[in-house]
Subunit: 216 residues, 2 copies
């Protein structure tokens, strides 16, 4: 039934940006938002916005645009953000603290239930209310807490061994913030974040700025 | 002269991933790497890898692949990662600490020279050796330290006002880790990181996993 069409990766990655903007418009009291406005605000081609949003099944009205309330619901449904998912985070350092405290994850259904570390001084403490457990308790905690996602924020050299451990504990999806490309069984879903990708883009834009600024 | 061809955004974002893999191959003692291997390892289409790497001007040899040493140099040159860029980070919280400590930025020419915050308890401390200054000293520090990039890790509601301040101080490029879409003068280069984009992709993959797993 509910068979979703699959968008391309860049389109999926744009959806949260659309969602942010559409929510902002909602807070400002708007009931409709046009594809053209979204395109202008986010510097995307209007045709691209229309293609991306077609996946939601929400039809824009001529001269008014998309109705905001159902559009938000449809994007959230497409992303499964209307379902809460329990997650653990492994490696209770600064990045973990930043991610657990990142506003927005909670409202997108990402619910951090536990953090794990080997550092004795961290075990037993809390990060934004999330308890830090010893790695030795991983298996029982994953079972008890009904966790599907593991976020990896360990140093890169421990990424693979940590991935192996969380998979043995029953984790089905890995969000990998390390530099390490992981070897994972086919049935495990994963997403690697590369913080240097955005930096690459910034650098190329800075470089492009030098010879010619004018967009015509 | 040295007029670089401009790749599409997804291609540019893939370059750091290629670079990681190619460096890994180098560490393992390889002198050549084939486009096919890169494609397999990173689950990208081989034709896409060849297109992306064509930008470097490095020609692969039949049966051997690309020579690793010049390929690394060419990617780094394309990304301007062979030039050191001084950066400040504004908002000296956990995300700032994670970014300053992120291995790889330094080797990509990103040199954090100062952090800024309004929190008296942070001013005068150091984050991984980088001093934290008061926001009141922003203008003089940016001038003294020859800074071009500002990384914004302030809470989203302060993003725009912070952007305005760093631009007034002489910053030319903004790497924005907040949720806030910034209004910036045309001559300012910016890149917004949305940590929820990767999460969106993970969620869609998890969802796609449910009905049908088989890739044929």
């Amino acid at each position: 039934m509910d068979k979703k069409k699959i968008l391309g990766i860049p389109s999926i990655k744009r959806l949260p940006t659309y969602l942010n903007l559409i929510r902002q418009a909602q807070e400002e009291g708007y009931e409709f938002i046009s594809g053209t406005v979204i395109a202008q605000e986010l510097q995307v081609e209007p045709i691209q916005v229309r293609k991306d949003l077609a996946i939601t099944g929400i039809i824009g009205k001529p001269k008014k645009g998309y109705p905001i309330v159902p559009l938000i619901a449809a994007i959230e449904h497409y992303l499964s953000w209307d379902n809460t998912k329990n997650a653990i985070i492994v490696g209770a350092g600064n990045l973990a603290t930043a991610l657990i405290g990142y506003p927005g994850f909670q409202s997108h259904g990402l619910n951090f239930v536990a953090a794990f570390d080997n550092d004795e001084s961290k075990i037993g403490t809390y990060i934004h209310g999330v308890p830090v457990f010893s790695m030795n308790t991983l298996n029982e905690q994953v079972k008890n807490l009904d966790v599907t996602i593991a976020v990896l924020t360990v140093p890169s050299q421990y990424a693979q061994v940590t991935a192996n451990r969380v998979i043995r504990a029953g984790i089905k999806a890995i969000w990998n913030f390390t530099n390490e490309k992981l070897n994972l069984p086919q049935e495990i879903v994963s997403q690697q974040e590369d913080l240097t990708s955005g930096y690459a883009l910034l650098c190329v834009k800075m470089d492009a700025q030098k010879p010619k600024l004018v967009k015509e």
